[in-house]
């Protein structure tokens, strides 16, 4: 029999974490800091409105772009909160999570052979999505010395005649790094001068702890060449609902919509109804969660530094990214031994591409009690070395 697996599928690397995943499932009493999702339940008013809509028979397809009322409400929200002027009519597309948005955005812009620069460490799907679209992912390393921000010189260095787009994600998963307006201005010039497109994944925007989030599209003249991605998963603890959105100037948005209508048709209507309720009346729930993350962050990062794992203060998202360089171990070895010997699950930084090989991603989206227990176990591990 022939090998039916396409070369493209064969060429995608398997998940760097599979081994850990299987190991953790066989173990008892594991504290997992490996989870990229909130530990809160979705605020009840959101659940309730979705349940009610199902009872009312709201179970059909929606327009491809998403419910008009959701797009309109979102348009106002983005304008008020981030100064982002996207029209609900034709510049916002509701997707099945940011994951889908990312995939179809890349497919809409990448031709075979195009190079896409990815600020790394980055979310694990960026590079495979570029590969699947026939493009070439090119990592740009964000270093600890730069507090994991995207350095303009490092970006400039990687640009070739084939470069088409730049992908960034700030606040960042896995580093928690944030780019302020000044930082973004420095890369905006390069992007504009080289006539590149920017894909900015801002799914952690609401989880910004120092000052307020700056949307990349509001910086300099980036708007017309930026695709902004965002979603409800992280801010409103709605990961399982699968609702995200993509915003871009009309022509770009229409190109992406063509792909969306064939591959997804529309995002699930129950999720869209919940998302509408989230924007309309879950602001306080969101703020309470953000405040709790902030307290945990302060406590956890202080703890990591105290036990001897140097950690920069993450200004956004819910990840700490401690360095294990001083232990002499690789990130993978450290993570594996920490899991098997002390039952704490963390993700080795190298899973997220270049720039993360000396670090661990520790999600502090777990209770303070668990964080304290995890710190204790990590300290025991370090003392046993």
């Amino acid at each position: 029999m022939r090998n039916f697996i396409s070369e493209r599928a064969q060429n995608i690397p398997p998940s760097g974490i599979r081994k850990f995943f299987d190991l953790a499932l066989t173990m008892e009493d594991v504290i997992s800091l490996g989870v990229g999702e909130p530990d809160f339940r979705t605020p009840w008013n959101i659940c309730e409105s979705s349940i009610y809509s199902i009872e009312q028979g709201v179970t059909s397809y929606t327009p491809n772009k998403g419910l008009p009322v959701l797009r309109e409400t979102l348009s106002n929200y983005l304008n008020q909160h981030y100064n982002l002027p996207y029209s609900g009519e034709d510049e916002i597309l509701i997707t099945s999570g940011v994951s889908e948005a990312l995939d179809i955005a890349i497919r809409a812009i990448v031709d075979p052979g195009d190079e896409v620069l990815i600020a790394q460490p980055s979310y694990v799907s960026y590079a495979p999505c570029v590969t699947l679209a026939g493009g070439l992912p090119v990592p740009v390393e964000c270093t600890e010395a730069d507090r994991f921000k995207l350095n303009p010189e490092a970006l400039q260095e990687k640009i070739t005649r084939k470069t088409k787009a730049v992908m960034i994600n700030f606040p960042n998963n896995p580093t928690g790094a944030v780019m302020n307006r000044k930082d973004l201005l420095a890369i905006a010039d390069i992007i504009i001068d080289n006539d590149l497109l920017l894909i900015s994944d801002e799914v952690y925007a609401e989880l910004t702890y120092e000052g307020s989030h700056v949307a990349a599209a509001t910086v300099s003249d980036l708007w017309q060449r930026t695709i902004t991605l965002n979603g409800f998963s992280k801010a409103y603890a709605m990961t399982g609902w699968r609702v995200g959105y993509l915003c871009a100037p009309k022509e770009l948005c229409e190109a992406v919509l063509k792909i969306h209508q064939y591959v997804m048709l529309c995002a699930p209507v129950m999720g869209q109804v919940g998302a509408l309720e989230a924007i309309r009346s879950a602001e306080e729930d969101k703020n309470n969660m953000v405040q709790e993350y902030r307290l945990r962050r302060n406590m956890f990062v202080a703890g990591l530094n105290r036990i001897g794992l140097p950690t920069h203060i993450p200004e956004g998202a819910f990840y700490a990214f401690p360095s294990v360089k001083d232990t002499g171990m690789s990130d993978t070895e450290f993570a594996e031994r920490l899991l098997t010997e002390h039952q704490v699950a963390v993700v080795p930084g190298s899973v997220f591409g270049v720039g993360g090989k000396n670090n661990l991603r520790c999600a502090y989206a777990v209770s303070r009690k668990q964080l304290t227990e995890a710190l204790g176990r990590m300290e025991s591990f370090l003392n046993s070395l």
Partner: protein, 163 residues
């Protein structure tokens, strides 16, 4: 009130047993600063008491709680204040509020059993001057107290790893 003080109050309202050191690491204050702010909030009467949320049904002491609504004729010059102060002195009255609506005062009263509660109402509350009418509601079961859910909730299962 300062933002830091509000933050401290929210932390303490959720868990008043945290040490000054623990609170300090969460709020980027020093333990001494935490203590000074907490003392000031105590002195100002903002922090009244450190207490515990108990599910008495589980503790099984058999106490009975009831909500009692009172219609009251307000007093010239004092309104409801004097009678409310008088009522609040009773040990049995755990909570006392002035309300809008059909009734004026709302009391939360606890007692060892139903007889004790009804005796308290009929002998001490109802006969008071200026009280026109009482309505007593026995609490059958409490599902949530001061923001704390008292029934068992299933833990949501999360995968050990996700990106």
């Amino acid at each position: 009130m300062q933002e830091k003080d509000l933050e401290l109050l929210q932390i303490l309202e959720d868990n008043s047993r945290l040490s000054a050191e623990e609170i300090a690491t969460m709020t980027n204050l020093t333990p001494a600063e935490v203590e000074a702010r907490v003392h000031a909030l105590e002195a100002a009467g903002v922090i009244r008491k450190y207490t515990t949320v108990i599910n008495w049904e589980l503790a099984g002491n058999g106490e009975v709680s009831s909500i009692i609504e009172l219609k009251v004729n307000p007093e010239r010059d004092f309104g409801y204040d004097r009678i409310a102060e008088r009522l609040s002195r009773f040990r049995q009255v755990k909570t006392l509020r002035l309300m809008t609506g059909t009734y004026d005062l709302q009391l939360l009263v606890t007692g060892k059993n139903m007889q004790e509660v009804s005796r308290f109402v009929s002998e001490h509350v109802a006969p008071m001057d200026r009280i026109r009418e009482t309505a007593t509601h026995i609490i059958m079961k409490s599902y949530k107290e001061n923001g704390n859910v008292l029934f068992e909730q299933q833990e949501a299962e999360r995968l050990p790893y996700s990106f």
